[in-house]
Structure formats: structure tokens, C-alpha cells
Subunit: 209 residues, 2 copies
């Protein structure tokens, strides 16, 4: 599904996406790192992976190793890159480098999808499916043109074999981002709990004639 | 805060918790594994860590290595082991071996805390704080007597140094469990979205006189 490495020349405007060399599973780590050296997209992906201050943070060198296992990916505005309920294409996650992705869900009683959240640069989409292979829990649609970096489950397995320490720190970074999403979701649940309580009081209020 | 390994003799009923030898940070992995061999609690913790079928699953041997870095911990029914808003004691997570823990939050307008979820054997509590060191997002109270296994951030760092591949697979297991919590939270948000919509219609319905 995804088979190109970050290209050396992706600083050139107008260069087609995936202009880099084809990814070869048998490359050594040194070969991988050389193949992405000089790519501005790869460097941005490494910086995004490090992300905000975190415990047991990835170093820039470790982030570069991870990026050498990723593939650049562009999504045109309006494209749905992950579809709610999909059980087939659950073997990748995407790190957003530029642009915004809307996370939406279909609710039976409504014709329009409900927006759960909007994620921007440095955030991950699809990491839950990558981890557990379960059906996609929500749809992810590019609300702007998006530039991202894909990590497949296969590439993650290769990283685990090649450089387990870096793989461990990547998994921590993924788990941290999932924890941030869970904190945000919990905060929304608290808000809804209060909202429904207030609405229930409104409904129960006796009508004054 | 937590300083005992799983004891060899914890099959004996009535043995006090933490009867095992004191944890020594300088132990080799082989020494650690020997120190927990024969402990039924340690074996149960290893089985719980493996958990339900998952991708890139921990093997029993890997789970035993992780458990050798953990400490047994008992919580009496009614005890709050993690307190919402706490910023100090965020350096550990607990794997539930037996019993149930209620995850609760205080909502300003209510005198009673709201139950967000109830977690049982095989589930983790406190992993978000362990990962990001942020304030605890909810309180965790034992709703029965609970037997668990504690992993501190310090022990996780030691595991990362000693056995990075196993540390990576532990982080995947943690991330998977966080992803399960996020899926559950997202499902509840969807339900609340529908509920508030129905309630709004009820509120908007013209009163028939």
C-alpha cells in the first residue's frame, strides 16, 4: 500500500510525492538513514515525532531512525483516509506534518457526521488500529491538504528487530499521544455529564401556566 | 514508595503483602527472574500482562521479565489509590490482578462523584500519568479488595536499559490498553451526543395546553 521512502529532493517545489527511492525491507539501518538524509520532509517528521516535552523523550537521532522506516504521504483536502468501521486497512498510522484532519463519527439519527475532534501537526491518526487491528472507530477526513508520514505495522516490526530501544521509545511516544486523546475524551465526557444533568432539570421543570 | 519484589511464598494464605525480598535496583535480570520464580502472584501478573489476543503480543517469558521489575500491592476496599488532580504521585501504574477499581471524577455541580468506568483484572490504572507525568485526570477507588502489581517509572527506565525489546513490547501492551479505553470513551461520547440531541428536542417541543 505504501512503498516509497522520503526523497532527498523533496525541497524542490512541485516534486511529486513519493519521488524518493522505493523502500527495500532488507536495507540496513545505516542505508535507511542515508536514504532520507537531506530530505526536509523527513527532518520535519523527525521533529514532529519528538513533539512536546515528554518523559523519556525521543532524541532527534532516534526520531530520524524512526522516520527512515516511514513513507511520505499526501492527502488532498476532502479525502477520507480512514473510514469508520473499516476492518481491512488497519495496518498503518499517519503522523500529521502539515494540515488538519477531522475525526468524525456517524450517528444513526443524524444525516451529518459528528465531529469528535480536529487534529493538526504532530498528532497521530490510526494508531489505535495499528496497535490492536480492531475496526476503525471513527473516520478521518483531511479538512485541508495534508502532508503526513506513514508507519505500517510491518515497518514497526522491522524497527523492533533492528533497534528495539528506539522502538520502545516510539511506543512510549504513541502511548503518550493516545493518553492525551483519552484525557481530552474524558474531559468531554465530564462536560456532557454536566450538560445532560442541566437538560434533565430543564425537562423536569414544571410548566408554569 | 514501593520497594518489595513478589515473594516466593505468596501462595501461603495470610502472608503479609510485600513479604518478598526488597527490590535492589542493581540486580541482574537473571537474579530478578530467580527472585520471583515460584510466586503465584508473579505468575498471575505475567498472565494478566499478556492479556487478550493482541498484535505483537508479549510472550510468557517476556511478561515474566516485566513482572520481575514490578512490586505486589494490595488495596483495601474503599481506598482511593489515585486522586484526581494529584500532580505528585504520578510515577507509577498498577496492573489489576484481582478485584475491581472504580474510576471516578468530581463534577462541580454534584456532591457525589461520577463513575466514568469500572476496571477489573488485566486492566491498568495510572498508565497515563506514568507516561506523561500530568496531573491525574480521575480518581481510582478500590470497589473490592484489590490485588495488583505496581510498575514505577524508575523500573520502566531500568527495563528499557536491560531489555529494550521487552520494554518495547510492554509499551505496545500499555498503548493497546490505552487505545481500548479511548475506544470505550469515544463510544460513550457518541451515546451522549445522541442523548443530548434527544433531550434538546424534548426541551424544544411546544407545550400543548
Amino acid at each position: 500500500m505504501f512503498g516509497k521512502l522520503f526523497g532527498r529532493n523533496d525541497r524542490q517545489p512541485g516534486a511529486p510525492d513519493g519521488a524518493g527511492p522505493a523502500a527495500a525491507p532488507s536495507m540496513t539501518q545505516a542505508e535507511r538513514l542515508r536514504s532520507v538524509a537531506g530530505s526536509s520532509s523527513a527532518e520535519r517528521a523527525a521533529e514532529m515525532l519528538i513533539g512536546p516535552a515528554a518523559l523519556m523523550q525521543l532524541s532527534l537521532d532516534e526520531a530520524r531512525i524512526i522516520v527512515s522506516h516511514m513513507q511520505p504521504h499526501r492527502i488532498a483536502r476532502g479525502t477520507t483516509v480512514i473510514r469508520e468501521g473499516d476492518v481491512d486497512k488497519t495496518d498503518f498510522m499517519l503522523l500529521i506534518l502539515d494540515g488538519e484532519v477531522t475525526i468524525e463519527t456517524i450517528v444513526v439519527s443524524r444525516s451529518e457526521p459528528i465531529t469528535l475532534t480536529v487534529l493538526g501537526p504532530g498528532r497521530l491518526i490510526g494508531e489505535m488500529g495499528l496497535l490492536d487491528g480492531e475496526a476503525r472507530s471513527a473516520s478521518c477526513t483531511a479538512s485541508t491538504d495534508v502532508r503526513g508520514a506513514i508507519l505500517t505495522r510491518e515497518a514497526l516490526g522491522r524497527l523492533l528487530d533492528d533497534d528495539p530501544r528506539t522502538a520502545a521509545k516510539l511506543m512510549m511516544a504513541i502511548a503518550q499521544r493516545t493518553a492525551v486523546r483519552l484525557r481530552e475524551c474524558t474531559d468531554k465526557l465530564k462536560m456532557y455529564t454536566q450538560l445532560t444533568q442541566a437538560m434533565q432539570q430543564e425537562i423536569n421543570r414544571p410548566t408554569v401556566l
